[in-house]
C-alpha cells in the first residue's frame, strides 16, 4: 500500500510527490463532479492544501488515493453548497466536455455526459465506485452514509445509466 510521509521525505517533498501522482485523477473526478474546469482546478488545489496540512494526521489506515478522493469530494461538496454555484446552470453536454484526444470513442462522451448529469447523490457514488475504484465500505466512510445507502444509490444510478451503457455496448460490438 502506498503510504504518506516516508521516513526520508520532507512534507514538501511528500506533497510534491502526491500532486505529481494523483493530480490528474483528482482533476477528472472534480470536473466530473463540478462540471467546471476552473472550479475543478480550485477544488484540486484545495484538496492538496488540506492534505498537506493533514499529512501528520494520516494514519495509513486507508490507501492514499481513497484518502485524497475523500478530501476532494468534500471540497466539491463545499463548493456546490456555495450560493454562487446555485446561480449557474451546470448541466453538461458533449460540447462542454474538455477537448480530448481525437482517437477516442465518441460513445465514451455520451456515457460520461450521462454520468455527469446524474443527480448529485447518485453521481458521487458512481464516481467513487467506478472511477476511484472504491468499495462500498470506503464510499460509505467517505460520504458518511451507510453501506446500504451506497448500494441503493449505486443500483439506482445503474438503472439510469442502463440506456447509455447499452448504446455503448452496441457500438463496441459493431465497431
Amino acid at each position: 500500500m502506498e503510504t504518506v510521509k516516508g521516513p526520508c521525505r520532507s512534507a514538501e517533498e511528500e506533497i510534491t510527490y502526491l500532486v505529481e501522482t494523483h493530480q490528474l485523477a483528482l482533476l477528472r473526478l472534480c470536473f466530473a463532479y463540478l462540471h467546471d474546469q476552473a472550479l475543478a482546478e480550485d477544488a484540486v488545489q484545495e484538496t492538496f492544501l488540506k492534505a498537506y496540512r493533514k499529512l501528520d494526521q494520516f494514519q495509513g489506515n486507508s490507501n492514499v488515493k481513497t484518502w485524497l478522493s475523500a478530501i476532494a469530494i468534500n471540497c466539491c461538496r463545499d463548493m456546490i453548497r456555495g450560493s454562487w454555484f446555485r446561480h449557474i446552470d451546470r448541466s453538461v453536454s458533449v460540447d462542454t466536455l474538455p477537448p480530448r484526444a481525437e482517437d477516442s470513442n465518441p460513445e465514451d462522451d455520451s456515457v460520461s455526459v450521462e454520468v455527469m448529469n446524474l443527480p448529485i447523490r447518485l453521481r458521487e457514488v458512481v464516481l467513487l465506485y467506478y472511477f476511484e475504484d472504491m468499495n462500498t465500505n470506503e464510499i460509505a466512510e467517505t460520504l458518511r452514509i451507510s453501506q446500504q445507502a451506497v448500494s441503493s444509490r449505486l443500483m439506482r444510478a445503474r438503472k439510469k445509466l442502463r440506456k447509455a451503457l447499452s448504446n455503448y455496448e452496441r457500438s463496441e460490438r459493431n465497431g
Partner: protein, 605 residues
C-alpha cells in the same frame, strides 16, 4: 474487461483533455506557507522550483534602491510619476519571447495602486534589421518623410536589413491567479542608440485588488514596413504571453494618507447631492449581482445590421471583421460592436495632412466614408459638447420619414439581440434636414476652415442632404453601473428611415443574478472622507476639491472569493471638481467599494 475498468476508461477518455498544472505543488506549498508559518524550511531545490515555476525573482529586488520602471517613467512622464512608482512594489522578470525576427524581453514590472507598469527591451535577431517603435510607425507615412524616419530608412538601406515595427501592449491583468481582467492600457516605446527599443506600458484595472502574485498578459507584435510607409502585406506577426510575478517593496512607504488631519478638516459638510437607490433607503444595503463577461463575437449575426451579403470576412481569435457587399463594415470584439457605412469610392486619407503638414506626403487610399457616417459624426460631436454645436438640444419627435418612437424601437430591438440589458436612453438628437445643414456647416467651419481642428476625414457639403438622410442619434448608457469612462457600457446609434446606419456599442460585463447582500455599507459621508484621504496621497496630489455628487451604484469587480468570478459590487461614485492645479474647473471622479471603503479607481490615479 470488468464493468469498473470499462467505466474508468470511458471517463478517462472523455476527460483526457484536462491537463495537469505543473506548478500545483509549488502553489500548494506557497499557499500553505503564506497562510501560516511552517517550521520546516524549504529546500534550496524547491525554492528554485517555485521561483522558476512562476517566473518570479522577487527577493533580490528588495535590495534595489531604484528601478528601471521608475527611472523610465521619471524620464518621460516627470519626476512626480517616477517618485510615485518608486514607492511601489517591484519585480525583475527577464522573460523573453521571440516574435518573428524580434526578441522581446520584459525586464521589470512595478505594481502600485491597482496599476501594473512595465519596461522591457526589444532587439532584432538579425543585427542588420532596423527596429521602429510603434509610436513612430503608427504614423510612419508621415514620419518616413521626415528627418528621423529618413534616417532609419537610410540606415536599413546601409545595413541591407528590414525595417520592423515593434510593439507590446498589455491585454489583461490579474491577481493571485484570479479572473484575468481587460485593462486600460497605455504604451510608450523609444528607440535607443544601440538600435534596441525600450517598450513600456501602464496597465490599470479598477478591479485589480492588492495581492501577492500578479499576472499580466502581453500582446507582442511585429510588422515589416516598406520605405513607402506601408506595412508589408502578410508581415504582421502576433504573439501573446502571460507573465506571473511577485513584487516586493522597493522602499518603505506608509499606506496611511499624508496630511489626513489637515485635509479632512476641510471637508465641506454640505453642498453636494447624495443619490441612492430606494432599496438602500429602506434596508441600508444593496445586493451583489453576478457579473457576466460579455462576448459579442459569440452572438452577433451580421445580417442584423446589413442584408447586402458579405463581401469579405476576417475572423481571428476574439474578433471578427465583415465587409458587406454595399461596403459597410462591421467590426466585432468581445466587448465591442462597430458598424459604419462606406462607399465604393476610394478616398485619400492623407489629403489634409498633405495640405497642413507635408506637401510630398503619399496618398493613403481607402474606401470613402458614406454620407450617413459623416452625419453621425456631426451628431456625435454635438454630444461631445464642441463649441460649434453649443445649445443644440432635442426638438422634434417626428422627422419626414421617421418618428423618434420608431428609432428608439429599432435601437432597443438591436440591444435585445445583443443581449444588452439595463441600458437607458441618456442622450438623443434629432437630425432633421435643417439641422444637418446648419450643424454640417458649423462642423466644416470648425474642422476644415478655422484651423481649430484637424481631420483627414472627407469633407462633405451638407447642403446636399435630403429628407432621406434625416435620422436620430441615440445614446443608451448602462446606468445600473458606474461608467468609469466614455467607452464603457454605452451604445450609440444613428438611425434613419433605412434603419441603423451607424452603431458603436460597448459592454464589458452584464448584470446577472443576485449573488448575496452585504450586511451594511459605508455611508456617503465616509466615502467623501475617503476621497479626501486618497486625493492627498495620489500621485498628482490635487488637494483642493469640491464635491458635486455622491452616488451609490454598481461596478464589476473581482469577487472576494475568486471562485465566484466577477460580481457587480455596490460602490460609491464621488464626483468632484478640482479647484486647483492643471485640472482646475474640470469634473473628476473616484469610486470606492461601498462595503469596505477601498478605493477602486479614480481619475487622479
Amino acid at each position: 474487461m470488468d464493468d469498473k475498468r470499462k467505466m474508468q476508461n470511458i471517463l478517462n477518455n472523455s476527460l483526457s483533455g484536462l491537463q495537469e498544472n505543473p506548478f500545483l505543488a509549488q502553489r500548494v506549498i506557497a499557499q500553505a506557507k503564506g497562510e501560516k508559518p511552517v517550521k520546516r524550511k524549504l529546500s534550496l531545490a524547491l525554492v528554485l522550483c517555485i521561483v522558476l515555476g512562476i517566473a518570479i525573482i522577487g527577493t533580490a529586488c528588495a535590495l534595489l534602491a531604484s528601478s528601471q520602471v521608475a527611472d523610465f517613467f521619471r524620464q518621460y512622464w516627470g519626476k512626480d510619476m517616477g517618485d510615485w512608482l518608486q514607492e511601489g512594489k517591484v519585480a525583475q522578470v527577464g522573460e523573453s519571447v521571440t516574435v518573428g525576427d524580434v526578441v522581446f524581453t520584459l525586464d521589470e514590472v512595478v505594481y502600485r495602486d491597482r496599476g501594473i507598469y512595465g519596461v522591457g527591451t526589444a532587439r532584432a535577431v538579425d543585427s542588420k534589421d532596423v527596429l521602429v517603435p510603434m509610436d513612430m510607425a503608427e504614423d510612419w507615412a508621415i514620419w518616413s518623410q521626415k528627418q528621423e524616419g529618413k534616417a532609419l530608412i537610410s540606415l536599413a538601406e546601409t545595413t541591407n536589413g528590414k525595417l520592423i515595427m515593434v510593439n507590446c501592449v498589455p491585454d489583461k491583468i490579474g491577481v493571485d491567479e484570479g479572473t484575468m481582467l481587460t485593462v486600460n492600457a497605455g504604451v510608450y516605446n523609444v528607440r535607443n542608440d544601440d538600435g534596441s527599443i525600450t517598450f513600456s506600458f501602464e496597465a490599470s484595472g479598477y478591479a485589480l485588488e492588492d495581492g501577492t502574485t500578479y499576472q499580466v498578459m502581453l500582446d507582442y507584435e511585429t510588422a515589416e514596413l516598406g520605405t513607402d510607409g506601408k506595412q508589408v502585406e502578410g508581415s504582421l506577426k502576433l504573439r501573446s504571453g502571460t507573465v506571473s510575478f511577485m513584487p516586493v517593496m522597493m522602499a518603505e512607504r506608509t499606506d496611511e494618507p499624508e496630511n489626513t488631519a489637515t485635509v479632512t478638516a476641510n471637508i465641506p459638510q454640505d453642498g453636494y447631492e447624495v443619490m441612492v437607490p430606494d432599496e438602500y433607503r429602506e434596508t441600508g444595503t444593496i445586493p451583489y449581482y453576478q457579473a457576466v463577461a460579455n462576448d459579442f463575437t459569440a452572438i452577433i449575426r451580421p445580417e442584423w445590421l446589413n442584408r447586402s451579403g458579405i463581401l469579405k470576412e476576417e475572423s481571428d481569435t476574439g474578433s471578427a471583421y465583415y465587409v458587406f457587399n454595399d461596403h459597410a463594415v462591421l467590426d466585432v470584439a468581445p466587448e465591442y460592436v462597430g458598424y459604419r457605412e462606406y462607399t465604393d469610392e476610394q478616398f485619400d486619407y492623407n489629403w489634409r495632412a498633405r495640405e497642413v503638414d507635408d506637401p510630398n506626403l503619399e496618398p493613403d487610399w481607402s474606401d470613402k466614408q458614406a454620407f450617413s457616417y459623416s452625419i453621425a459624426a456631426v451628431a456625435s460631436f454635438v454630444n461631445w459638447g464642441d463649441d460649434f454645436a453649443k445649445d443644440t438640444v432635442f426638438e422634434k419627435k417626428q422627422l419626414t420619414y421617421l418618428s423618434f418612437e420608431d428609432a428608439d424601437t429599432s435601437a432597443k430591438k438591436m440591444m435585445d439581440l445583443l443581449h444588452l440589458s439595463g441600458y437607458e436612453l441618456t442622450w438623443a438628437l434629432d437630425m432633421d434636414l435643417d439641422r444637418i445643414k446648419m450643424l454640417g456647416k458649423a462642423y466644416n467651419e470648425h474642422w476644415y476652415e478655422s484651423g481649430s481642428g484637424f481631420t483627414n476625414s472627407p469633407r462633405y457639403d451638407y447642403d446636399l442632404a435630403t429628407a432621406e438622410d434625416e435620422g436620430y442619434y441615440l445614446i443608451y448608457t448602462q446606468t445600473s453601473a458606474a461608467g468609469l469612462d466614455e467607452t464603457q457600457g454605452e451604445a450609440s446609434f444613428f438611425i434613419t428611415k433605412r434603419g441603423i446606419v451607424y452603431a458603436e456599442v460597448r459592454c464589458y460585463y452584464m448584470m446577472g443574478e443576485k449573488a448575496g447582500a452585504p450586511d451594511m455599507l459605508i455611508t456617503s459621508e465616509k466615502a467623501v472622507e475617503r476621497l479626501y484621504e486618497e486625493v492627498a496621497r495620489s500621485r498628482n496630489g490635487e488637494k483642493v476639491v469640491r464635491i458635486k455628487t455622491v452616488e451609490l451604484t454598481y461596478m464589476p469587480i473581482r469577487a472576494e472569493n475568486k471562485r465566484d468570478g466577477m460580481v457587480f459590487a455596490p460602490v460609491w461614485k464621488v464626483t468632484y471638481v478640482d479647484e486647483s492645479g492643471e485640472k482646475k474647473g474640470f469634473d473628476s471622479w473616484a469610486v470606492f467599494n461601498a462595503v469596505n471603503g477601498k478605493l477602486i479607481d479614480a481619475i487622479f490615479r
